[in-house]
């Protein structure tokens, strides 16, 4: 078994220390950091994400896998910076104004990182300006919004309206999610995508970015 396959296997089992050791070993052997990232860490996360969507594994397996990926990345990231690795894309993610729920948003952040995106988490109770300013600052591809309350869902519309007002709507892929949100609400407010879980959000974001870049 190749070392990248081993990294992927250990990652899927949530064996963080093994992943960290193997990533270091791969670097010591002169392996390209991008290969370690793509064929080891991200490959493992993609497999676990697919298994989660297919109900083959549950939340704990995803959480420990993501933690293992994080441990691997802590060793790998300095080398990725050195070689100028470009992420799949950039996403700004937050919970909308008036809403303090952050667990769903945190899981989306975790899965987006696992899909190879550079993620900027603007936290909870984030107003429209915060989403847009951060997206403009970092050159984001995706703006992801979370809301857990019917009283705060309308604030997703506020962000989209402000994007339109500033002439920036077409610049970003806008994604929404959260317990009271659904496909029809996403369509009604003019969002590009609604996803019902964090794993799907990551997959959709990745595909949407690649499609936009290839258009």
């Amino acid at each position: 078994m190749s070392i990248t396959n081993e990294i992927s296997e250990f990652l899927q089992k949530g064996r963080a220390k093994n992943v960290k050791t193997l990533v270091q070993q791969a670097l010591d052997e002169g392996m390209d950091p991008k290969v370690i990232l793509n064929e080891g860490l991200l490959s493992g996360m993609m497999i676990i994400g697919t298994k989660f969507r297919n109900n083959e594994v549950f939340v704990p397996e995803v959480l420990v896998a993501a933690r293992a990926m994080n441990m691997g990345l802590s060793v790998l990231e300095p080398k990725l910076v050195e070689v100028g690795n470009e992420p799949v894309g950039k996403a700004v993610v937050g919970t909308v104004k008036g809403d303090l729920h952050d667990i769903g948003k945190n899981l989306v952040v975790m899965m987006l990182k696992g899909a190879g995106l550079e993620v900027y988490d603007i936290g909870v109770d984030a107003d429209a300006e915060a989403f847009i300013n951060k997206a403009e600052e970092v050159g984001a591809d995706v703006i992801g919004m979370s809301a857990l309350l019917t009283t705060t869902m309308p604030n997703m519309q506020t962000v989209i309206d402000l994007l339109k007002e500033k002439g920036l709507r077409d610049k970003y892929i806008v994604m929404v999610g959260g317990a009271p949100v659904n496909e029809s609400f996403a369509e009604q407010i003019g969002a590009d995508y609604y996803t019902s879980d964090a794993a799907s959000a990551a997959e959709v974001a990745k595909q949407a970015i690649l499609a936009k870049k290839n258009a």
Partner: protein, 224 residues
């Protein structure tokens, strides 16, 4: 079940007259029993005994529970009127900071465990306050017909009323967002419909009357 503290006395602050004798009466609960059930927490996270991860996560649960219990500060305030009572309780903002720190450090399992333990602690504190209120109601020869929670069976707008009636901001340091959500996030409030019949006491949350259909803590089906 590991109790964090034991039932204690409540501080009564009456409004506009004799001690709890008038139309309105307020009180603060500072000694609130909190316990969490490990199985419930792990079940909530879909971590079952037949999982290959169970032992590791169960061990981690113990460490995270200690951290959560070190930072929670359960406190509650209640106001009793003629027909209704308003109740607000909070664990304080320390636990929110702990959860955020765990997620920020990439310890996603730790963050999820802390969040689930905090939720269980809040529900446990809720039961503890409901029991202390039972004594208060018995002393005043009143009962409770029904409980209203938002958004389950009461509009979110009522949360502002709960905060105002209980003086939650002054007494507990609880605020409210523009989306009518209590801040700190691990807080809850509810309204009780009172009756002159002291033999009736239904102050605990009733899942059968709550329309939060996808709630992971649901104990029975929605009946309305």
């Amino acid at each position: 079940m590991q109790p964090l503290s034991v039932f204690g006395k409540s501080i009564v602050h009456s409004k506009g007259g004799g001690a709890c004798a008038g139309m309105r009466c307020g009180m603060v609960f500072t000694e609130i029993a909190v316990s969490v059930n490990k199985k419930k927490v792990l079940d909530f996270l879909n971590c079952y005994e037949d999982s290959s991860l169970y032992e590791d996560i169960a061990e981690e649960y113990e460490a995270i529970r200690e951290k959560v219990f070190a930072v929670i500060r359960p406190r509650a305030a209640a106001a009793i009127g003629e027909e209704r009572a308003w109740v607000l309780l909070t664990l304080g903002d320390g636990v929110s900071e702990l959860i955020k720190a765990l997620f920020d450090a990439g310890d996603y399992m730790g963050g999820m465990l802390a969040d689930a333990i905090a939720d269980q602690s809040l529900f446990s504190a809720d039961r503890s306050v409901a029991e202390q209120l039972r004594t208060v109601c018995a002393d005043r020869k009143i009962g409770v017909v029904r409980r209203y929670d938002a958004p389950g069976n009461m509009p979110m707008e009522k949360q502002a009323e709960i905060l105002a009636r209980t003086e939650g901001e002054r007494l507990l340091g609880v605020g409210i967002t523009s989306g009518l959500m209590f801040d700190p996030v691990k807080s809850m409030g509810y309204i009780l419909e009172l009756t002159d019949d002291p033999t009736i006491y239904r102050a605990e949350h009733d899942c059968s009357r709550c329309n939060a259909q996808n709630c992971g803590m649901r104990t029975c089906a929605y009946a309305e």
